[in-house]
């Protein structure tokens, strides 16, 4: 429902790669010299030591640690600290001078350049959290992290969005997480990472995930934005769209 109210602007090409060291460079130098609200300090370790970090092969781990930021593993405050919030386009003096209920919040995520916007709620607060969750979805759809297929174990957030019949999914993963759950985004990102690594081949990816090709296609088709991103990725590899 909130989704229907969201207008999305994306200012970057797709898929977007997170080149090594770029995020952290932007993070430390991209911030203006004056203090900016919200000024919560961002800790890099919070992102890279998260237990749901990007799954890279063991040998790769040293190389990859800290290279590809796990944005979706960050808390809202941490993610927010990497964003610029533009609300009042033409602002004037603001504060006590002004009575205007803003209808939109626009977040620009510095490291990736992704822009997410939420409109329409009465509460600026709610617009901000809708924009943040939209940002999470966009990050999942746009930011690709490389995978070493020789040594690949699907991360738990990916296992969580798989249907129960997946043969690599153990019982303790719990019930299947659907597109309306906020935890769907990290799984979707990991799935697209895998699909990217296998050059868009759904059957390859399905094999790795212990599913039939049909079951994986159905999962991809169950969410419009996931389907669109998967098809865009397939198109870039010269493959036909899933339908």
């Amino acid at each position: 429902m909130a989704r229907a109210l969201l207008r999305i602007t994306t200012r970057c090409c797709s898929p977007l790669y997170a080149p090594s060291s770029l995020p952290s460079r932007l993070r430390s130098h991209g911030l203006p010299p004056t203090l900016r609200f919200p000024s919560l300090s961002f800790s890099a370790s919070a992102a890279s030591t998260s237990s749901h970090g990007p799954s890279s092969g063991k040998e790769e781990e040293e190389d990859d640690q800290g290279k590809y930021e796990n944005y979706l593993g960050m808390t809202d405050d941490e993610l927010m600290a990497q964003c610029d919030m533009g609300t009042f386009k033409s602002s004037g003096p603001g504060g006590q001078h002004r009575n205007k209920r803003e209808s939109a919040v626009r977040l620009r995520h510095h490291p990736t350049g992704i822009v997410a916007q939420a409109v329409e709620d009465r509460s600026q607060h709610k617009n901000r959290s809708s924009a943040l969750s939209r940002l999470r979805t966009l990050i999942a759809l746009k930011v690709r992290r490389p995978i070493n297929l020789d040594n690949y174990t699907p991360p738990v957030e990916l296992l969580q969005i798989l249907p129960l019949k997946s043969t690599i999914r153990s019982k303790d993963v719990g019930s299947q997480i659907g597109p309306n759950n906020i935890k769907f985004s990290p799984g979707m990102q990991a799935l697209l990472d895998l699909l990217f690594a296998v050059e868009g081949s759904v059957s390859e990816a399905a094999k790795i995930l212990g599913l039939s090709t049909g079951a994986l296609s159905r999962l991809i088709l169950s969410d419009d934005s996931l389907r669109a991103a998967a098809n865009e990725l397939r198109a870039s590899k010269g493959l036909k769209p899933l339908r």
Partner: protein, 340 residues
């Protein structure tokens, strides 16, 4: 300078008449047709001070009548102010229930809508609330409507180490928005003491405290700045204030929703706008416990720069890490720091 004679007197356009004609003219709508005189200061000040959104839905309305009202009200929205269509949706959402009951008679809703569109009475006074900081804050004429900029104060409080267990003061609490939002973040030992000289503010703040069930955590005290806080002096973990900071000379030029309708007591900061801010600064070091935190909202860049400089030079031995903090429009809106 905010006298009534300064208000432009707007006569209803033919379209407005159409809205009014088919209905019997209530006292409020009648005065809407009459130029305001000093004896009727606010055209649509409600007889019932209970915020509209909190009144019981006791007025049945046929769906067709409500729909007709919606169309008449929408027709009043000038093309130059499309955001009023959004307000109309929110107005109907706050004033009615899905089973066709209204919180005020239709006539009164007509008058309220007219007052918003024509007299520029703030939408928040019309419905009686503002959505702020994740809360629905009750407001009414006589208290400042909390501003979105001020929400940032909550994040700054949350960033203070150990804030959950501390005693906090909110000076000039107005609707109590800050006090309530801060109290909701506190742990079992945390408390908020909020002061205001305005009787209306004290009433509204108490209503909000009660609505959020925070009577045990928030105390609203009537009086000037630190005066009602004698016995907690030196024990406060933090002092928060959004005092009046607009330079007196800027008051006549304010947006009508603000200048015509919000209390001057909540806006007027004296000649440079700094009267209250400086007064509060003077009281800070004796109110805060060592290591205590403070944050003020200011009129923006110049005031913030001045205060940072003033506090760090005049009282360098009392405070540390004094800095200006930007709001989301990149204006240096806040000054914060710690007592040594």
């Amino acid at each position: 300078m905010l006298s009534l004679s300064a208000r432009p007197i707007l006569l209803p356009k033919p379209r407005l008449r159409r809205l009014l004609l088919p209905r019997p003219l209530s006292a409020a709508t009648a005065s809407a047709l009459t130029p305001p005189t000093p004896r009727t200061p606010t055209t649509a000040a409600p007889a019932d001070p209970t915020p509209l959104f909190l009144r019981p839905p006791t007025h049945p309305v046929p769906p067709a009548a409500l729909e007709a009202f919606r169309r008449r009200a929408a027709a009043l929205v000038p093309p130059s102010a499309p955001h009023l269509h959004r307000h109309l949706r929110w107005f109907l959402a706050d004033a009615s229930t899905p089973d066709h009951l209204l919180r005020a008679p239709l006539d009164e809703l007509e008058a309220l809508w007219l007052a918003h569109v024509r007299d520029r009475r703030p939408f928040q006074y019309v419905v009686g609330n503002e959505h702020w900081g994740g809360l629905v804050v009750a407001v009414r004429d006589g208290v400042l409507i909390p501003r979105p900029e001020t929400e940032a104060v909550l994040d700054m409080v949350r960033a203070v180490q150990g804030f959950e267990g501390g005693w906090w003061a909110d000076l000039g609490t107005g609707s109590g928005a800050i006090a309530v939002a801060v109290a909701r973040m506190l742990g079992p030992h945390g408390r908020v003491f909020a002061t205001d000289v305005s009787e209306v503010a004290v009433q509204v703040a108490r209503l909000n405290v009660q609505r959020y069930g925070l009577q045990d955590k928030v105390e609203i005290r009537h009086g000037s700045w630190f005066e009602p806080l004698e016995e907690v002096k030196g024990k406060l973990m933090g002092v928060i204030s959004n005092p009046p900071y607009i330079p007196t000379g800027d008051l006549p030029g304010l947006q009508p929703e603000v200048g015509w309708h919000e209390p001057k007591l909540a806006l007027d900061g004296g000649k440079d706008g700094l009267d209250h801010l400086l007064h509060i600064c003077e009281g800070l070091s004796s109110a805060l416990k060592p290591g205590g935190f403070f944050v003020f909202e200011t009129n923006g860049n110049k005031q913030s720069e001045f205060l940072v400089d003033f506090i760090s030079t005049k009282w360098s031995s009392s405070f540390r890490n004094v800095e200006a903090v930007l709001d989301f429009a990149d204006i240096k809106r806040f000054v914060r720091g710690y007592r040594r």
